[in-house]
Amino acid sequence: MINLKNVTFKWHKNDSSPTLNIKELVIEKGERIFLYGPSGSGKSTLLAILAGINTVTSGEVLILNKNLSTLSNTTRDAFRADHIGYIFQNFNLLPYLTPIENITLGCEFSKIRKQKILKQSSNKSAALQNEAIRLLNALGLTAQYHNKNVAELSIGEQQRVAAARAFIGSPELIIADEPTSALDTNNRESFIKLLFEQAKLSNSTLVFVSHDETLKPLFNRSIDLINLQEQV
């Protein structure tokens, strides 16, 4: 699923030491990984590399057996849209769209994800809508919020919309970047459990990033970024 080998990353060519230096990282299909480390440990950088936003300075990044560094910018854009669902720390919802519209946006730019939904549905015209509604319900956002203004939703509600957008069209990899940082402990745990359910349903691998180690026991594997990084 994910295979990193001898990866180094420097923000600028002239940086003396790399921000990231990983000898090996392997994540299998279907795993639910908890990736943690203190601020500045390179979490965001690693995510940017996994999502193909940034390319590594040296080494090999294989995602779904595709070497991201060899892909062109446009193919990487397409690859990301087709295979990776991303839950942002700040959710990144468009304020002028309803929750449903925000969610369907996740597969509007990917034929593969759209096709996956259409295949399963008998009602082709409303397939995307229905899938968005199903996801929202599954993630615990009741119908009364589905067509509200996004800006009127609470943080917890927005977070569910953001998660539903990442899951729509069942991408192979879900990356969650500290989506629970604004929630209290109880809500965090229930939200993460809902994420697990969806990941299982859609056969997705989940990489969950946080600096909060108390969440560690919920996951079947956890990776400490400090240990992962080779000290130079």
Binding site: S44, I53, R80, N92, P95, L97, L105, E108, F109, R165
Partner: protein, 425 residues
């Protein structure tokens, strides 16, 4: 499809600034169309003032001065043409018709023109249109007057009203002729030319106003006796003429005569006369005014340019505010060309709506200002469908708007994806 939907929703979300931009464009479109319409109609109104007349003859002065005084009632000539010369010249071979005119008097600021019945049958304007009567008939007696449409409207005269002509121009003239009131017998249809602002009286009546006796005495004495007689007799009242007229208009059987007779007139020995061809002189006059025309055109172009620059400013300013929005779109899978298309569609949509609203405002403007222009500037504005020229102008604005929209669109294209990943809420 999704891009169009996003463009629509996004515009709706920013409706305040979008509406402002839209109105800037709308107003500039309206201004451009209005200025162009007035410019074109002014030109055609101008050249439509007189038509079908081959030659205008008056005392020797400048070509343009003669045209201005005889056709536009602007300024006046000090000298006239003697009746003898008029009779001699118009009796030449090839002369189809002639209209003597005598100017220099006024009624409440409106020009008074002494002429013959030939005026109503031969004077033409615009596309060789004859004068037509809205009400009444041509004058048939020496104490009758035919009003231009605007004179009747402005001064509120109806048929059978009595009016008094004063000597000289302007309505402050001290020399009124209260003893010689004239009866309104006809009102002409609007022409969009100085004819509308003119009172037409029999040539014979001019000398009467001036207290001239001479050849008119005879008719004057008969006037009262014949007043209640039948039509065929009334015509006799128009017999008689002044010693001098201001100018006369001529039409020829063939254009060949025009140049020949004109040469003869300009070399006419007994009197210093000048013959001008109105179409040629009108053109000369318009060329003198061409600078005004060009300035008008320049103004409209600058107005459009400013509004488009305004749109560019708004678009660029919006773009930095929308960096996050665009970054989010990138982060959910939109490619750079999606953003490019999005911004282009938005600016195209704004320009399109601006042009539509502008055209509507333009029709509103000419509809409401048409009457004013007609009555105050003598420019007849036609309310018609947009001409190809006007559609072309709108097309140019649309194209310019689209091209200008490409600037922010290109910037959006190069917004990097890491923008979207790292921007904090």
């Amino acid at each position: 499809m999704i891009i169009a939907k996003l463009a629509y929703k996004s515009l709706l979300n920013r409706r305040a600034s979008v509406l402002l931009t839209l109105f800037t464009i709308a107003i500039s479109v309206m201004l451009l169309l209005s200025i162009e319409r007035v410019r074109i109609d002014a030109k055609s109104s101008f050249s439509n003032t007189i038509s079908g007349t081959d030659l205008i003859v008056g005392a020797r002065t400048g070509d343009i001065q003669l045209l201005l005084s005889s056709v536009f009632r602007i300024g006046h000539t000090n000298n006239g043409v003697s009746w003898k010369s008029y009779e001699y010249i118009t009796s030449q071979r090839g002369v189809k018709w002639s209209i003597p005119i005598s100017l220099g008097d006024s009624h409440k600021g409106q020009a008074v023109l002494g002429t013959t019945l030939d005026y109503f049958s031969h004077y033409r304007f615009a596309k060789k249109q004859n004068l037509t009567f809205n009400k009444g008939r041509p004058f048939a007696a020496i104490n009758e007057v035919v009003l231009g449409s605007e004179v009747a409207n402005k001064l509120g005269y109806k048929l059978n009203d009595s009016i008094v002509i004063s000597h000289g121009m302007g309505n402050t003239s001290f020399h009124h002729h209260d003893d010689n009131p004239l009866k309104v017998v006809g009102v002409l249809n609007p022409t969009g030319t100085p004819v509308d602002k003119t009172l037409h009286i029999p040539l014979a009546a001019i000398d009467l106003i001036h207290g001239g006796k001479a050849s008119l005495v005879h008719e004057h004495e008969h006037e009262h006796e014949h007043e209640h007689e039948h039509e065929h007799d009334e015509h006799n009242n128009l017999v008689g003429h002044p010693k001098q007229i201001t100018a006369f208009l001529m039409g020829f059987n063939s254009p060949l005569y025009t140049l020949q007779i004109r040469r003869n007139i300009n070399q006419y020995k007994p009197e210093a006369l000048l013959g001008i061809m109105p179409t040629v002189t009108l053109k000369e006059l318009w060329e003198m005014l061409a600078i005004v025309e060009k300035i008008l055109l320049l103004f409209s172009a600058v107005v459009v340019l400013i509004s488009l620059l305004g749109m560019l400013t708004t678009l660029l300013a919006n773009l930095s505010q929308r960096r996050r929005e665009l970054a989010i779109l990138r982060s959910v899978g939109a490619r750079p060309w999606h953003l490019f298309t999005l911004i282009s569609i938005e600016s195209l949509l704004t320009t399109l709506l601006g042009c539509l609203v502008g055209s509507a405002l333009y029709y509103l403007a000419i509809f409401s200002a048409g009457g004013y222009l007609q009555s105050h500037a003598g420019i007849s504005v036609n309310i018609t469908m947009l001409s190809y020229y006007e559609l072309g102008l709108i097309g140019v604005i649309m194209a310019a708007g689209f091209i200008i929209g490409l600037i922010p669109a290109t910037r959006a294209y190069f917004y990097s994806l890491s923008d979207g990943m790292s921007i904090k809420a």
